[in-house]
């Protein structure tokens, strides 16, 4: 079976940058969000990310940086031939792994 490789920035808050690499099953049409959900289910249940509508691209919660570019994880296709780098959104306070503080200041505790 073909695989895709993801290098994901891990850790909380201001911890120094640490990347962890995962191999995930690759299927035609598969997305970065599919891969993240697979990693959570099969490899590391603690991987933190935001998503809600699951690939319909209406909630807009799954914005992250892939290879330095800000994208939606749910509409970004996996590629099989190289390692994709996944980072939390730049310019936002990082909470954990790929989760940043994207809540409006008026929607926080």
């Amino acid at each position: 079976m073909k695989t895709a490789r993801l290098s994901i920035r891990r850790g909380t808050g201001d911890e120094p940058a640490r990347y962890e690499e995962f191999s995930v099953p690759f299927e035609d049409g598969g997305t970065v969000l599919d891969a993240l959900i697979w990693i959570r289910a099969q490899r590391d249940p603690s991987l933190a990310m935001r998503y809600s509508c699951i690939s319909a691209n209406v909630c807009k919660e799954c914005t992250i940086a892939v290879d330095g570019k800000v994208v939606y994880a749910c509409t970004t296709r996996l590629v099989a031939d190289r390692t994709m780098a996944l980072d939390p959104l730049p310019g936002k306070r990082r909470l954990r792994d790929l989760v940043t503080e994207t809540r409006s200041p008026r929607e926080r505790l």
């Binding site: 909380t12 590391d44 998503y51 319909a56 209406v58 509409t75 994207t102």
Partner: protein
């Protein structure tokens, strides 16, 4: 620990929750707290809806809410709570027009009238929409905008209610998990509205947001409220199956069937709906329960498409007509490698909506003082099968009513820290993390497969009994499930609470399905294929003090 206090607490900030917040503030509540597991106004089912919204507006032809009620009751196969269904149909036009005043952007004809189309099960054109496939996002955005303008509504995102707090037999607030910090939060409230939507996320194939795992049903049961019609899960017949489609809701094909009459074909390319009693010719009129049953049977008989569904074909429609109906959606489909002029797509039933829910009166009050419900979380209005287009008006109408009722609720009992202590302690303890052989996330995946296989569109006693046994094992395993260390944004901690709620909701569905030894609406039993007058009544589900879930026809 954070302590919050409010007059009206609204759990869930989809369409029903946001409407409830607006209405509670409008009715004079000085402090309204609107919270969501996800981001306020981004999760839930409303934002996923593409079309349509049913209301007897009489813009296209003569109509009356009583005619809408007739269609709703017929679709419900004899089980609708007529009081709730009447409220829904009578007040839908007011809410739809109010949304229009709030600039939701209903599609209009050249004459300026709101466009209304005939969806399956409706006797006349009654369903309005926002083009193209934008109804839900437009409704959600409009409600977000309205809510954000009201100073008395405080919004908090990423707050998951894990338990309602009971004092002197009344709901006096809730305990919640603050996802970001992993810490417990207590919320003292005079009235609490459950607006958490349905439970379709407990099925492997679903059209739900990630936060639709049945939390509200579990919260209500644990608080002593009853549920009704829990065996009736609506499977949307033509959910997208293949080729892989992203950036679109899997239930997107319906409006195009209204507009263009797409044909459903078995794996060999033959039409089959007529063999299941459908009289549909060019127009799309087959009700959802019959279409889902027909497709499931075709696949079971080995006549399905390669991925286990059937074909939906628009190949007979001229390219210009396709372009006119689909608009910019054609490009989105092309990015997924789909060209409707050249090839069909594969579709199959997908868990879409839950008819069952919390038992409430016409004020949306449950039998437990202080506890209200709104939207899909409410049971009864749609009986055994929901009419297309009734879900968004239900969110709006029931949301508006619940907010109004909760705003005028008087305090039954005061908050007591001691009543919240166990729930607070549970969050603190689990947040420490712990080792274990099984992860809650893995069990959630197993639960979704189990429900899809054994409690899906076509059921039998053996499968339901197997599911119940496994659900019991999983509930036992919950006590030892592993939780990763680190409180902040701890996904495995959130999974644990989701699994706890989803298992209770799943058991409610399965017990009710096992006890209904007939087929009716969305509940189809291979071992009891016919409807029986003996079962022409609703079934209620309750939780006993020890935590066991029971279903029964006695009232």
């Amino acid at each position: 620990m954070t302590l919050l206090e409010t007059d009206v607490l609204i759990v869930g900030a989809g369409g029903a929750g946001m409407y409830a917040a607006i209405s509670a503030a409008r009715a004079g509540a000085e402090r309204v707290l609107l919270i969501d597991k996800s981001l306020v106004g981004r999760g839930g089912a409303t934002i996923m809806a593409q079309m349509t919204v049913a209301a007897a507006l009489a813009e296209e032809s003569a109509d009356d809410w009583r005619l809408h009620l007739d269609d709703t009751l017929a679709a419900g196969r004899g089980l609708c709570d007529e009081t709730l269904a009447s409220v829904l149909c009578e007040e839908a036009p007011t809410r739809i027009r109010e949304m229009g005043e709030w600039q939701v952007g209903w599609a209009r004809r050249d004459t300026g009238r709101i466009a209304q189309v005939t969806a399956p099960g409706h006797s006349r054109p009654r369903c309005c929409y926002v083009d193209f496939l934008n109804t839900g996002p437009a409704v959600a955005a409009t409600l977000r905008r309205q809510v954000s303008r009201i100073d008395s509504v405080r919004r908090v995102s990423n707050l998951t209610v894990t338990d309602l707090v009971i004092a002197d037999g009344a709901v006096v607030g809730a305990v919640a998990l603050d996802t970001a910090s992993g810490e417990p939060v207590t919320i003292a409230a005079t009235a609490t509205i459950i607006a958490t939507g349905g439970l379709t996320r407990i099925y492997r194939r679903n059209s739900a947001s990630a936060n639709m795992g049945g939390d509200g049903y579990a919260l209500a049961l644990m608080a002593g409220a009853s549920l009704v019609d829990m065996e009736f899960v609506q499977f949307f017949p033509i959910g997208h199956l293949a080729p892989r489609l992203v950036g679109m809701d899997p239930i997107m094909w319906d409006p195009f069937r209204y507009k263009l009459g797409g044909r459903l074909l078995d794996g060999a390319g033959n039409e089959f709906l007529a063999r299941y009693g459908s009289t549909e010719t060019d127009a799309y009129t087959t009700p959802r329960d019959i279409a889902s049953y027909a497709i499931t049977q075709e696949v079971a008989a080995g006549r399905g498409s390669p991925h286990g569904g059937v074909y939906l074909s628009f190949e007979h429609v001229p390219a210009t007509a396709l372009r006119e109906a689909f608009g910019p959606v054609i490009e989105r489909l092309a990015r997924n490698g789909i060209d409707l002029a050249r090839a069909p797509v594969e579709v199959s039933p997908i868990a879409h909506y839950h008819m069952g829910g919390i038992v409430v009166d016409k004020h949306m009050a449950s039998a437990v003082p202080g506890l209200y419900a709104a939207g899909e979380a409410v049971g009864g209005a749609n009986g055994a099968n929901r009419l297309s287009g009734n879900a968004i008006p239900e969110a709006m109408v029931f949301g508006e009513r619940a907010g109004r009722s909760a705003a005028s609720a008087s305090r039954v009992a005061g908050w007591r820290d001691s009543a919240a202590a166990e729930a607070v302690e549970r969050i603190r303890e689990l947040g420490e993390g712990r080792p274990g052989n099984v992860a809650a996330g893995g069990l959630l995946d197993e639960l979704r497969a189990l429900m899809g296989d054994d409690v899906g569109p076509l059921r039998n006693a053996a499968g339901l009994a197997r599911a119940l046994a496994r659900l019991g094992d999983m509930r036992a395993a919950l006590g030892d499930a592993a939780i990763a260390p680190g409180r902040e944004c701890n996904a495995s901690l959130a999974d644990w609470f989701e699994l706890r709620a989803s298992l209770i909701a799943a058991e409610a569905v399965t017990r009710a399905a096992l006890a209904r030894r007939e087929s009716r609406g969305a509940h189809q039993r291979a071992d009891f294929p016919d409807s029986s007058p003996e079962f022409a009544k609703s079934q209620s589900v309750a939780m006993e003090l020890a935590g066991s879930v029971t279903a029964g026809f006695g009232r």
